[in-house]
């Protein structure tokens, strides 16, 4: 039976997925394809943009077939994507000039250090809301342009184009070399280091600081907007929305009011809080970013706290220590004891992210006594995710002047009940799991459906959001204070471990 539905693409770090959702926000079908990860040198991570585009050619028709839906029944397409990943391609041939440089790639380390020492570097955070770091797109564009002088000339003529993954896919879907639309959404643009956070346009000062020609940049548009009609793969579908993946999750979790926040618990974790229509400056190590922008409405800003190691600490516990055979067993092991026995694990495996940003920190396990069992270590692993969340929430409350009253959660780790209880306990707020398996895809679908009037308004969307589970804080307040102090002492012990002249352990750079 054919029904009208919305299609969403989640172009992620390891795979690309296409999903169809009906009016109630229920999933009709999923099609997924992984793409290859290229690691040409230590610290380098690349994807082949052509492979990802070809994957789209398989998964979009497959999702339609699986749901028994015609192209004509799809009212709109929304795209969510891995952020900060950088593609440069030739406008005339459609060929990428190289593989995409992925957000995890740190090849621009030296370039960023050099840029940071230049005059004007102090203005970067002020203008774009982000610290000057390898994490974002601008240094990658610069790195590519520096490698080939002829590339810069072509970029200055507008023959070579820049885009994050959503730009690349939209340009190709809308025709590629044959009239493709070169656009980016404002949330993705807010992760480049090139967009002025107030005007939401490319900032001339930032462009000249990074020495990037304006001619190669896409037009910045609202997250929901008329991006054009698809001409290829699935001709005739209205592209209605594009958002960075974490922004799509914020939207899918219905964090529409200031102070509402979500945390996606995966390998790493990303906590975003809606701060309303004015950007909140961070004094506490958070990123200021655009949450989303609907049509002509004012942009809604967000604060973001990224935690590098959460699920990956459980993976380390499983794969490197071999104390469990599957990730969910961490809960079983942790429940063999009633507390951490005085043991704390701070997983600063490659330094600490928000709110500390200490790249020289390295991980510690402290409080070891002969009393400690693997059960206590398992508890300490789960508590590390809890306390890292607490540090980010404290920073958010301080920066935004708002107080988090509930944390909405999603991601694979939310199936761990002990972890979710721990998060509620250490934050002292209820933790709510939404009845949505895929908030990123759903967020992109919602935004696209909203753009074409499939859903009338945000309140209409709210009716689709349901609570699947809720954990209430039940930790003794005095214990919470004492444990937080212990955690903070453990964190301090990680600082200053790496020194510039240290030889790399294990025969290679970390």
């Amino acid at each position: 039976m054919a029904q009208r539905c919305v299609m969403s693409i989640d172009q992620g770090t390891t795979s690309t997925r296409c999903m169809l959702f009906d009016r109630r926000g229920q999933l009709l079908s999923v099609a997924q394809r992984e793409h290859q990860q290229h690691f040409p040198r230590p610290g380098w991570v690349e994807h082949d943009p052509v492979e990802i585009w070809r994957n789209l050619g398989r998964i979009m028709p497959q999702a339609l077939r699986d749901a028994g839906v015609d192209i004509a029944d799809v009212v709109a397409l929304g795209i969510a994507n891995q952020r900060e990943t950088t593609v440069l391609w030739d406008r005339h041939t459609g060929h990428p000039v190289s593989r995409a440089i992925v957000w995890q790639d740190t090849r621009t380390d030296a370039l960023v250090t050099e840029l940071a020492a230049r005059p004007g570097a102090d203005q970067v955070p002020e203008r774009c809301g982000l610290p000057l770091a390898t994490y974002f797109s601008a240094p990658r564009i610069r790195w590519l342009l520096d490698r080939k002088p002829e590339l810069r000339e072509r970029a200055e003529r507008g023959d070579v184009l820049f885009g994050t993954m959503e730009s690349w896919l939209i340009w190709n879907l809308t025709g590629g070399p044959d009239g493709g639309v070169h656009v980016t959404d404002v949330t993705n643009a807010s992760r480049t280091l090139l967009m002025n956070l107030h005007t939401l346009t490319w900032d001339d000062k930032l462009l000249s600081f990074f020495d990037i020609p304006a001619a190669m940049l896409p037009r910045i548009t609202s997250s929901t907007s008329d991006y054009g009609l698809s001409h290829r793969i699935v001709p005739g579908i209205q592209i209605g929305a594009a958002l960075g993946d974490q922004h799509a999750a914020l939207f899918g979790q219905m964090c529409f009011r200031p102070g509402e926040a979500k945390c996606t618990y995966g390998t790493g974790s990303f906590l975003l809080m809606n701060t309303g229509t004015e950007p909140a400056r961070s004094k506490n190590g958070l990123l200021t970013t655009v949450g989303y922008q609907l049509g002509e409405e004012p942009a809604v800003y967000a604060l973001e706290g990224s935690i590098a190691v959460t699920g990956s600490l459980v993976q380390w516990f499983r794969d490197s220590l071999g104390l469990i055979t599957s990730a969910p067993e961490i809960e079983t092991l942790a429940r063999t004891v009633s507390d951490n026995g005085g043991c704390y694990i701070v997983p600063a495996f490659s330094g600490l992210f928000a709110p500390h940003w200490r790249s020289e920190a390295r991980g510690v396990i402290v409080g070891l006594t002969s009393y400690i069992t693997k059960g206590h270590l398992a508890r300490a692993v789960l508590e590390a995710t809890g306390w890292q969340t607490r540090e980010v929430v404290d920073a958010m409350n301080a920066d935004s002047g708002l107080t988090l009253s509930t944390l909405k959660v999603d991601g694979g780790m939310t199936s761990d009940n002990l972890l979710m209880q721990t998060v509620a306990d250490v934050l002292n707020v209820p933790v709510v799991r939404a009845m949505v398996p895929e908030t990123v895809s759903l967020g992109a679908a919602y935004a696209a459906g909203l753009a074409v009037g499939y859903w009338p308004d945000l309140e209409g969307l709210r009716r689709n959001w349901h609570r699947a589970a809720q954990w209430q804080p039940r930790m003794d307040p005095a214990l919470r204070v004492a444990e937080y102090r212990n955690w903070q002492r453990a964190v301090e012990l990680t600082f200053g471990w790496m020194r510039p002249d240290d030889p790399a352990p294990g025969g290679g750079p970390r």
């Binding site: 079983t332 199936s415 761990d416 009845m435 398996p437 609570r467 589970a469």
Partner: protein
């Protein structure tokens, strides 16, 4: 069955000596064609009875064999594998979803999804429900003869006047569950409430748990006072989906 005899011989062989053998060594020791030995080893590896060293390619006994008697599927693993299907079941049925496994003569709730109506509800993961008075419990009893036997010796608690207490009535109910592949319960545990559940199966069809919905009788029952057939379909679909994820081939 020849293949089972051969599989047993391979396990015996691996249990001896160094315990690490290549497929060629196993085939020649037992006088089997290499392809035959390889096929059996692949199946044994699939159920976790043997493991293959990723570097040498040699086979050894799997860790699963060491604790065959204890619970073979971790309940937290079960929840993690079932969570998306359980959410979808709650969204489709509009009712609260629970997943249960047997523990000490009761049903241990290992996962709970709220009824999607945004009323205040409390997570009851970790709580225990009676085996004989809930749909999940009846499913677990139906596929576990030992469990059913212990219950026959026990004094069954009466929760409502509809709770099944007579051993003959319970035995008949369990036989029906096995016949139709799902269990229902109408006001046998709580007045005004009903539940529907179906088995979750792992490798080889072994029942490892039950998934079900429960709620007010006016929503759960059809006009004849029997569990709503559409809800039964939703529950069975969800149970099959989880089972497939856990490696049960046929269900």
């Amino acid at each position: 069955m020849q293949s089972i005899e051969r599989a047993a011989a391979i396990l015996r062989l691996l249990a001896r000596g160094s315990g690490r053998l290549g497929v060629g060594e196993i085939a020649s020791s037992l006088g089997l064609a290499k392809g035959t030995a390889h096929g059996i080893l692949r199946t044994l590896q699939g159920v976790g009875f043997v493991e293959q060293d990723s570097e040498t390619g040699k086979y050894q006994l799997g860790a699963t064999l060491l604790h065959l008697g204890t619970s073979y599927l971790d309940v937290n693993e079960l929840r993690s594998r079932a969570i998306n299907w359980a959410d979808a079941l709650a969204a489709r049925s509009g009712e609260a979803v629970r997943i249960g496994t047997p523990l000490e003569g009761k049903v241990l709730v290992v996962h709970h999804v709220f009824r999607p109506d945004d009323t205040l509800q409390t997570l009851d993961v970790g709580s225990l429900l009676p085996l004989h008075a809930t749909a999940m419990g009846k499913v677990l009893l139906s596929y576990d003869a030992d469990l059913a036997a212990t219950l026959r010796r026990a004094q069954l608690e009466s929760f409502t006047r509809r709770t099944l207490l007579a051993p003959a009535a319970l035995t008949k109910a369990l036989a029906e569950v096995r016949e139709v592949g799902w269990a229902g319960e109408v006001q046998e545990y709580l007045a005004g409430q009903a539940s529907i559940a179906a088995p979750i199966r792992g490798h080889g069809g072994l029942v490892v748990g039950a998934i079900g919905v429960s709620g007010a009788t006016e929503r759960m029952l059809d006009g004849k006072g029997r569990p709503d057939p559409q809800l039964v379909i939703y529950v069975r679909d969800a149970a099959r989906a989880v089972s497939r994820d856990l490696g049960a081939a046929r269900w």
